[in-house]
């Protein structure tokens, strides 16, 4: 009886003309040449180098987040294409098609869940990837450009989510997009409600918002536009940028640390490829199990006349929504996101600190790390507030308070400087005063050449605030809670906005110093404005309504 010779069969298959025509290379012998051939001979793996330095393999160094983000992008593409077979982007059909996916399509619910959860996971993964790259200084020369592409990819990831959540045509969709596109309408010059917009002839039917919506309100055209952007235009752009991103990673030799002579490179096949595989498989598994256990939300069908109460964006935009409470739409919705994006892109060009490249170095880059992490933490704190502490009528509800007890209507707000009737000069005082304060804040840290003692300066400043608060308390102008707010927010702004810059960046050259300070002061102004609104009901510190300039 002939025995089954598996080895022989395998050899025959691999030596067949068919196999040879499809796969390059011969029988696998696991020689260095074979390993290199695996990478070079495969169009997909070819984006990798053949060898790389061992540090780029460490999970503790990379967190695997770049790879996981890409794995999620692939998952989203696959599930998204599948969903497209059952989805029609028209008002009459979109919601029903989603219901069909939930109730009548084989694995439809599972695919929709996977698409939804993978999108949210991808946002977390991309942010984590950015944090890791920042903390290891991996954006520094010569990787400035690739960091910029990364920031663009983060923005596009968020934009993909934004365009995606109109598509189910439910209440969440229509109101999130109404709010989002009205922010576009508040763009300076280009939007009909933005500063200077009316002056250059922007109306509701010719501004940038009109282009986004394809009409004056969220309707049929909007759904189609968002569909095309979500399924074709933006993924294509992301794909192009991804290729660029990967290619630069490879050209910039993967890991950022300076090369040491004792370091010996290892083969990408199998060392990196197996790690990538495990990351991708783990991610897929995670998304699958999540999608089995938890269904994606679907609210009632979109109704342009009824806004849900409270009406909230998905969690990753709730931080922005919370900012919208404190600032004018064009500041919170256009200037701040713009400043965040531009500021992130600019970081490699203003951070001249040569230390901390390729390893975690909190002590060597205290200023950069502290400010960056402060920004990230603030973003998530805002998300927490918007998501968990805002109830009906978007009023403030503590976690232990029931939403079923309606809150008091908020107290009337007021503006410090601004027109308060005829013959008021407060605007004329406000503009130079605000200018002077900003300029002084901007320049002082650099002009004081001697390093100040951090503890003493902080002590003196907090003492001053405490005296001020005590005076307010004594005069009955504020309560203890307001005093506490003042102490906390002013103290934090002073520490992060003055003490730290004074200690660490006064040696920077003027252009870099000024750009850094603009970013720092903008961040701090968010804190200060929150304090002003929450504790003192101040709507604007300075308002010039005739040109929609409100601060």
């Amino acid at each position: 009886m002939p025995t089954l010779d598996l080895e022989k069969i395998k050899k025959e298959i691999i030596d067949s003309q068919l196999w040879r025509s499809v796969f390059r290379g011969g029988v696998w012998k696991d020689t260095p040449r074979d390993r290199a051939g695996h990478i070079i001979g495969n169009v997909w793996l070819h984006l990798h180098p053949v060898k790389l330095r061992p540090r780029a393999l460490k999970w503790t160094y990379t967190w695997g987040m770049g790879g996981i983000s890409f794995a999620l992008y692939l998952l989203l593409t696959l599930t998204g294409v599948a969903l497209m077979f059952y989805y029609r982007p028209t008002i009459g059909l979109a919601y029903r098609d989603i219901k069909d996916l939930e109730f009548a399509v084989t694995l439809g619910m599972f695919l929709r869940n996977a698409h939804r959860w993978a999108a949210q996971a991808m946002i977390i993964a991309v942010i984590a990837h950015m944090v890791r790259v920042f903390l290891t200084g991996a954006y520094k020369k010569p990787r400035e450009f690739n960091w910029g592409i990364g920031v663009l990819l983060l923005t596009l990831t968020l934009f993909l989510s934004f365009t995606g959540y109109l598509l189910p045509w439910d209440q969440l969709a229509i109101w999130a997009v109404t709010v989002g596109t009205n922010m576009a309408g508040a763009t300076p010059v280009l939007g009909n409600e933005g500063p200077l917009g009316a002056l250059v002839g922007m109306r509701i039917n010719n501004d940038v918002r009109f282009t986004l919506l394809g009409g004056t309100m969220v309707g049929e055209n909007t759904l189609l536009r968002f569909y095309v952007m979500h399924c074709v235009a933006v993924p294509l752009l992301v794909g192009i940028l991804l290729i660029l991103h990967f290619w630069r990673i490879r050209k910039d030799s993967f890991s950022a640390a300076p090369y040491t002579a004792t370091e010996e490179k290892v083969d990408v096949w199998p060392h990196l490829v197996k790690r990538e595989y495990i990351a991708a498989a783990g991610t897929t598994l995670f998304i699958m199990i999540w999608s089995i256990l938890q269904n994606a939300p679907l609210e009632a069908i979109a109704n342009p006349n009824v806004t849900t109460n409270p009406s909230k964006a998905p969690w990753y935009f709730v931080g922005l929504q919370e900012l919208l409470v404190y600032f004018d739409p064009w500041i919170a919705g256009v200037v701040m996101p713009g400043l965040i994006i531009v500021g992130l892109v600019a970081i490699p060009y203003i951070d001249t600190n040569p230390k901390g490249v390729g390893y975690y170095a909190w002590k060597e880059r205290p200023f950069a790390n502290t400010l960056f992490m402060l920004g990230v933490v603030m973003w998530f704190v805002l998300i927490y507030i918007g998501n968990s502490l805002r109830g009906p009528n978007y009023a403030w509800y503590w976690p232990w308070e029931s939403w079923y007890m309606l809150k008091a209507a908020p107290a009337p707000t007021w503006s410090v400087f601004g027109p308060k009737g005829a013959g008021s000069y407060s605007m004329l005082i406000g503009i130079p005063l605000m200018g002077a304060v900003s300029a002084a804040w901007m320049l002082l840290p650099k002009l004081i050449q001697k390093e100040l003692d951090g503890k003493k300066t902080m002590g003196a400043f907090l003492g001053l605030v405490a005296v001020f608060a005590a005076a307010g308390l004594a005069m009955g102008k504020m309560g203890a809670a307001e005093g506490g707010f003042l102490l906390f927010f002013l103290g934090a702004s002073f520490y992060f906005g003055f003490v730290l810059p004074q200690r660490h960046i006064r040696a920077l050259d003027w252009p870099r110093y000024l750009v850094t300070m603009i970013l720092v002061i903008s961040t701090m102004s968010v804190l200060l404005k929150m304090c002003a609104r929450l504790a003192f009901n101040i709507k604007y510190v300075l308002t010039i309504p005739s040109i929609s300039m409100n601060f």
Binding site: W175, T178, V179, N182, M183, N205, N206, F210, T211, G214, G215, T216, M217, G219, E220, N221, P304, N305, V306, T307, T308, N309, P310, S311, Q321, L324, V325, Y326, F327, D328, P329, G333, R390, P392, N393, Y394, A395, A409, P410, A411, P412, T413, N537, K539, P545, S548, N550
Partner: protein
């Protein structure tokens, strides 16, 4: 264009006579390239502009902004939410007449709710509060609610036109944003 033209020094065939190495005109190759790049740039710029224009629809299928809100006699003092669902407008009757407000929060376009018992409009999206006049008393809204044009037709019906809006105190209390009616 064949290869022989692009490279005058080469020989196109065995029978070809040697060509003189002089260019037909005094225009240098660089000048031609400049013109080529220029035209390509113009083509791209024109395409981009046309592409941008393409994104502005010339016709949109949206309902008319004008509607008949029924007989004025049918309204009582205060805020009527009768047309909120269909037209997104509140009709407000004061002792001296009517005005209509567009039920769109001036912050980011959500629909506020009328809380008659509190005498306020409250927006569920970012918590803006408005008075009966439409003035902001709390929350982030940057300006008062928009009032729409209202007319009293000879039949006694109110005609509301949402395409004509005003919210500046002083202007909004007069025609065409207000009709006297006792």
């Amino acid at each position: 264009m064949s290869e022989s033209n692009s490279n005058p020094s080469s020989v196109s065939g065995p029978a070809a006579a040697p060509k003189p190495l002089v260019k037909p005109a005094d225009l240098s190759r660089g000048d031609f390239l400049w013109a080529g790049w220029g035209m390509l740039a113009a083509f791209f710029a024109a395409s981009a502009a046309a592409g941008a224009r393409f994104m502005f629809p010339n016709v949109i299928y949206e309902p008319s902004q004008k509607f008949n809100a029924g007989p004025a006699v049918g309204y009582d003092l205060g805020v009527s939410t009768k047309w909120l669902n269909e037209q997104r407008v509140w009709i407000v009757r004061t002792p001296s007449g009517f005005y209509a407000m567009w039920a769109r929060c001036t912050h980011l376009g959500c629909t506020p709710n009328w809380w008659g018992d509190q005498n306020r409009f409250q927006c569920p999206c970012h918590g803006s509060n408005y008075t009966l006049d439409g003035d902001v008393i709390a929350g982030p809204a940057p300006m008062p609610l928009w009032r729409t044009k209202v007319d009293l037709a000879p039949t006694g019906d109110l005609i509301v036109d949402k395409a004509v809006l005003e919210n500046k105190p002083g202007k909004r209390e007069n025609a065409p944003y207000f009709v006297s009616y006792v």
